[in-house]
Amino acid sequence: MRLILILLFTLPPALSAADSNEGQKKSSTCVACHGQNGISPNDQWPNLAGQKKQYLSEQLKAFKNGTRVNPLMSPIANSLSDQDIQDLVDYFSQLKGP
């Protein structure tokens, strides 16, 4: 019983942290354009840090399925799995925006 209680209290944060960590690992592709910590170095490309989860998720899926088209984002999004998208969304949305 004690073990179950320990798991109940520790597992959710552990899973959440794992997702965020995975997102950070996978974000190496994103930061080349969107900047370290998700803050873009120019006015043409958007910040990702602190962006809404639903918006990020919908845009990445739109690039992936072709309803939104961009020369750089479309091929990159096409290579992402649903899990990759979720991990990236979790990571960038929890970063502090500019």
């Binding site: 690992k25 996978k26 190496s28 592709t29 080349a32 354009c33 900047g35 370290q36 170095p41 120019n42 006015d43 043409q44 490309w45 072709g66 088209v69 961009n70 020369p71 750089l72 479309s74 091929p75 990159i76 096409n78 290579s79």
Partner: protein, 389 residues
């Protein structure tokens, strides 16, 4: 530096303007139009290419407009062994380009690039009308782009690396442009092709004899990128007006991004290329081999080339580079070859400002070339400053 040295020097310092296919592999861009105006790659860049080339530095929005491009490169070259040819400083290239859309949908674009300084100055380079055949950019399409005009030959690895024997051996140096029609397509995000029919009239630069300049033929290039590696194959075939023998060349190549594979824990790129060429012997006499008797003896031989290029991105702005390339001028004489090891770095010191440094150690095994002043047989160190717009 004596002016006649330049054609010799650059005949060996083969080079394509500002093309980095390793980034294409790292970021899953099988089509070069992600960053460049031309589907062949190299040459004028679009707005995305300029922004990406800033490598995270702050950049003035004026510098990333989509109408004007420029590429200025200055070189300091120091040959070390054997040493009769001269080194020094000089301008390699000073090209400016304008590109303008003729319609609101941006499906027709005119591009004009002119080299105003440096080697092969006063030459038109990427100068063409570009017709976008698909309705939207980057959506996979069998018929993507049609170019009519003067463009780079879509052959082999279009790389920014200098001094590659594979370029010399296949007559696809940075100053070699062809005039004709090019059709490109990207049927999927993993596959790209280029097919060109060209007339070589007045397009072969300053170091090619008259007989070679008057040629016509075709080029095919295929790229397949199933993941963090890109495989490619190219072939070209030319007939000549002034001689009966045809010219042929093939290239097979691959580029691996270990960084994409490992989420940049091991940020290493590996390029490998093998080329074979038939009937391109006379180019070897243009600053490559030094002994005219040796050049003549090569006749219409089959030549083999190899290139291995390894880049280690210590940071996203600083790459250590190792290069090995090798040329066997006559495939029947395996003991005679040139090879070379090069070490150096490429450093993005500002937005679209690059410094490159190389120290290269060359070796020639043919007796008449081993201690000659042929550029390809010399050890050399060089530094390049590149400013791009």
């Amino acid at each position: 530096m004596r002016s006649r040295i330049w054609p010799f020097l650059f005949g060996v310092l083969s080079w394509r303007a500002a093309a980095y296919p390793e980034y294409a592999v790292r970021y899953n861009m099988v089509s070069c139009t992600a960053c460049h105006v031309s589907p062949v790659g190299g040459g004028p860049r679009n707005q995305n290419g300029k922004l990406f080339g800033a490598h995270g530095y702050k950049i003035n929005p004026v510098l990333v407009q989509d109408y004007v491009s420029a590429d200025l490169r200055a070189l300091y070259y120091y040959p070390q062994r054997p040493g009769t040819s001269k080194g020094g400083m000089g301008v390699m290239q000073g090209s400016v380009a304008g590109h303008v859309d003729l319609d609101e949908e941006k499906r027709i674009k005119l591009v004009l690039e002119h080299n105003i300084a440096g080697f092969a100055a006063a030459q038109f380079r990427d100068t063409y009308a570009l017709f976008r055949l698909s309705e939207k950019t980057t959506v996979p399409s069998w018929l993507d782009t049609l170019l009519v005009g003067r463009f780079r030959e879509p052959f082999g690895i279009i790389t920014d690396e200098h001094r590659t024997y594979t370029r010399v051996a296949t007559a696809t140096e940075f100053y070699t442009f062809e005039t004709g029609v090019l059709l490109s397509g990207t049927p999927s995000y993993q596959f790209h092709y280029d097919v060109a029919l060209v007339s070589g009239e007045d397009s072969a630069g300053q170091t090619v004899s008259t007989g070679q300049a008057e040629r016509f033929g075709g080029v095919v290039n295929l790229r397949w990128m199933p993941g963090p590696v890109m495989f490619g194959a190219s072939g070209s075939y030319y007939e000549h007006e002034m001689r009966s023998e045809s010219t042929k060349a093939v290239s097979v190549y691959g580029i691996l991004s270990i960084g994409r594979w490992t989420n940049d824990r091991i940020p290493v790129f590996v390029h490998v290329e093998h080329t074979e060429a038939w009937g391109l012997d006379s180019r070897l006499g243009q600053g490559f081999a030094n002994d005219p008797n040796y050049v003549a003896a090569l006749g219409l031989s089959e030549s083999l080339g190899w290139l291995t290029l390894v880049e280690w991105a210590i940071t996203p702005r600083f790459n250590l580079i190792y290069k090995y390339d090798r040329l066997q001028p006559n495939a029947s004489y395996v003991a005679d070859y040139y090879d070379r090891h090069g070490f150096g770095f490429r450093w993005d010191i500002g937005p679209n400002v690059i410094v490159q440094f190389r120290s290269e150690f060359a070796n020639a095994t043919h007796p008449s070339e081993a201690d000659s002043s042929a550029i390809a047989a010399q050890d050399a160190t060089f530094a390049i400053l590149q400013l791009s717009l």
